[in-house]
């Protein structure tokens, strides 16, 4: 597997560079501009794409292909690759379609990657709350789409595990156990939903990877990860898994008491990018949430990716043009103080 940071390698400051920076900093009044330019040139940068889709009647395959093109994902890069799409299917109920990634967005992503020459595209999820993954698939409407398109689906909760060293070290977990499937693909794509979250503030492309961790080992609802800390687990999973791409379904998102009990809100966007913290930070701005106030994004900043607006090159729509404030609940601690000013 290649890493998502292939294109924007994480810079590290040597002690000498740091000393130089400190010395030069003393003369910031006269040389501040050059210092800032030098400093920003060493910072992680990323590109995100915002596509407009007012309803689920949009042509998502076309929109996602456009986004991939804008983000420099070429057919040469995708040709022959095995792609794993990880939608967000936590606890869907037939009448509550705003909980999970919409099946037509999943279909659009499948078609887009196949169009670029992917050797295979599989969809996989390990629902966090429900033991009956097949029922989750049916109630979400995704089963029909996958069946019609003959797209394979894998239940990540029950898959044999692959235990590797935790590269994040934000939790006390020395190792993480992923489903073996992640070793058998070339690209892992988070196909997330734009939602508020009552424990994490917001659940977007990074938090979506809780669903990769097999319930067989982590329990339902991923008890081990809740025990060692949700923000910390998000960081460790993403640092170790090194996902390659994210597409966030914000056509209809969830505001208020997400990720299950909130209410639908039409944001009318798909947000895409190679760098997941940058994608999630952009989503937060669209939701009128300050990404610096989301603990896992704050800690991911300049480690797993950039979250500062100035370091994220925006393609497609401007986040300001599509900003749709998501309702927050004052009584929920994770929602307190996160509103973007």
């Amino acid at each position: 597997m290649t890493t998502p940071l292939t294109h924007t390698e994480q810079p590290t400051l040597s002690r000498r560079q740091l000393l130089q920076a400190c010395l030069v900093g003393g003369g910031l009044g006269v040389s501040g501009f050059s210092l800032l330019r030098w400093f920003s040139s060493t910072r992680l940068t990323a590109q995100t794409f915002i596509g407009h889709a007012a309803t689920y009647e949009a042509d998502f395959a076309l929109l996602i292909r456009h986004g991939l093109q804008e983000l420099g994902v070429t057919p040469a890069e995708i040709k022959g690759k095995r792609i794993l799409l990880k939608p967000n299917l936590v606890e869907p109920h037939e009448t509550l379609s705003h909980i999970n990634t919409h099946p037509l967005v999943v279909r659009g992503a499948v078609e887009a990657f196949l169009h670029l020459g992917a050797a295979s595209v599989v969809v996989a999820e390990g629902p966090g709350h429900r033991h009956d993954t097949l029922l989750v698939l049916e109630e979400s409407g995704l089963a029909d789409v996958l069946y019609e398109d003959r797209i394979p689906f894998h239940d990540l909760n029950t898959m044999e595990g692959l235990t590797i060293r935790n590269l994040g070290s934000h939790t006390k977990l020395a190792t993480l156990t992923f489903p073996r499937l992640v070793q058998e693909v070339d690209w892992v794509v988070s196909l997330a939903k734009m939602k508020t979250h009552h424990w994490a503030g917001a659940t977007l492309s990074m938090k979506n990877f809780f669903g990769v961790m097999p319930g067989n080992y982590y329990g339902w609802p991923k008890n081990v990860l809740h025990q060692v800390g949700i923000p910390q687990s998000i960081l460790d999973i993403n640092a170790t898994l090194k996902p390659h791409f994210a597409i966030v379904d914000g056509v209809t998102g969830m505001e208020g008491d997400g990720p299950i009990m909130g209410t639908p809100i039409q944001a009318g966007v798909l947000v895409m990018g190679r760098n997941l913290p940058a994608v999630d930070a952009t989503c937060c701005r669209i939701m009128k949430i300050n990404p610096q106030k989301i603990e896992y994004l704050h800690k991911a900043d300049q480690w797993l990716g950039p979250i500062h607006e100035s370091l994220i090159e925006q393609r497609g729509e401007s986040w300001r043009a599509v900003q749709t404030p998501f309702a927050l609940i004052p009584e929920i601690p994770a929602h307190q103080g996160i509103r973007l000013g």
């Binding site: 709350h129 429900r130 009956d132 029922l135 156990t177 982590y218 329990g219 339902w220």
Partner: protein, 313 residues
């Protein structure tokens, strides 16, 4: 007389048994304790192949840790949730008594993390009542607690303090409008949604020990959901949960056949789900009725269900 699709399913199950006696989750994979236990319970219930069951039981014994637990894999000893399934699988075999006894002792000693609820406005249930966790050092939840209760009931420990407390936990986790979620009731003041699989397990574990009026709304919820259930896991547990209260629907076989039919769409079901569904078809009054030796200290569920409403009459 076993209907052909059920017979075919039993044969399929037997055909994937591995040389070491274990059964895989899917054909072609390595043996897993949960799949092995469920296959044994189903094959044994239908008296399908005694030798195959005995080989399966011996495999489970070979996988048991010294402290009695059966974990999902040797590398993940903390995930010991298959232990009660092994206790049930060993139930019909005199050769597995020692292993079964050690597993029972392990279950009695195992508890999730429990603590006084720091803020009931955030999480609505009583976090201090002990049950069983999916994996060590985490909180107790509905399905592993229900499975542990079923195993201990089969061992004649239906009035053990851990079983009684576990049942108390399940009652506490019941949703006010009926049914069970994975184990929360209210989070930030909102009542969560019931799930058929959790509800079936909980009802099965409470049958014979809880007055029917305390679970009537949950029975009503399952009866309402039942006609819509087609997946083997949810349908299987729903049938067992209702059956344990004397409410096994007369169209059980038709529901199960419809579920099996859907393998044409989805491919072969995982072995544990398939076995569960077959058990639900065979069981006259819940899971316990599959075993020759009814658990001691259990009351007849039918006497408690006499006032239950059924949509099937």
């Amino acid at each position: 007389m076993i209907q052909e699709p059920f017979l075919h399913s039993l044969e399929r199950m037997k055909s994937v048994q591995l040389p070491n006696g274990g059964f895989p989750y899917h054909a072609g994979e390595e043996a897993r304790p949960d799949a092995t236990a469920w296959a044994i319970i189903a094959l044994s219930a239908y008296a399908f192949d005694r030798e195959s069951c005995n080989r399966g039981r011996a495999h489970l014994v070979s996988q048991q840790a010294k402290d009695g637990r059966l974990s999902i894999s040797p590398a993940h000893s903390e995930a010991s949730w298959p232990t009660p399934l092994a206790v049930l699988a060993w139930q019909e075999s005199s050769q597995s008594h020692e292993a079964q006894s050690r597993a029972t002792d392990y279950l009695i000693g195992l508890t999730g993390q429990h603590f006084p609820n720091p803020d009931p406005s955030i999480s609505g249930h009583d976090t201090a009542i002990r049950g069983w966790p999916w994996t060590a050092d985490t909180h107790s939840w509905v399905i592993p607690t229900g499975l542990a209760i079923l195993a201990l009931q089969q061992m004649g420990l239906g009035t053990h303090i851990r079983v009684v407390e576990g049942q108390h936990m399940l009652v506490d986790r019941q949703l006010p409008h009926g049914g069970w979620n994975y184990g929360n009731t209210f989070v930030f003041g909102k009542e969560l949604h019931p799930l058929p699989e959790s509800t079936g397990v909980a009802l099965q574990a409470l049958a014979g020990a809880t007055p029917i009026h305390e679970v009537q709304q949950s029975l009503d919820y399952l009866l309402h959901e039942l006609p819509h259930l087609r997946t083997p896991l949810s349908l299987g547990w729903a049938l067992l949960g209702l059956g344990a209260w004397g409410l096994k629907p007369p169209n059980t076989e038709a529901l199960a056949l419809a579920s099996l039919q859907r393998q044409e769409r989805y491919g072969p079901y995982p072995l544990p789900s398939l076995a569960l569904l077959l058990c639900a078809v065979k069981a006259s009054q819940g899971l316990h009725s599959l075993f020759n030796a009814s658990p001691r200290e259990m009351h007849s569920p039918s006497t408690h269900a006499s006032g239950a409403r059924s949509f099937f009459r």
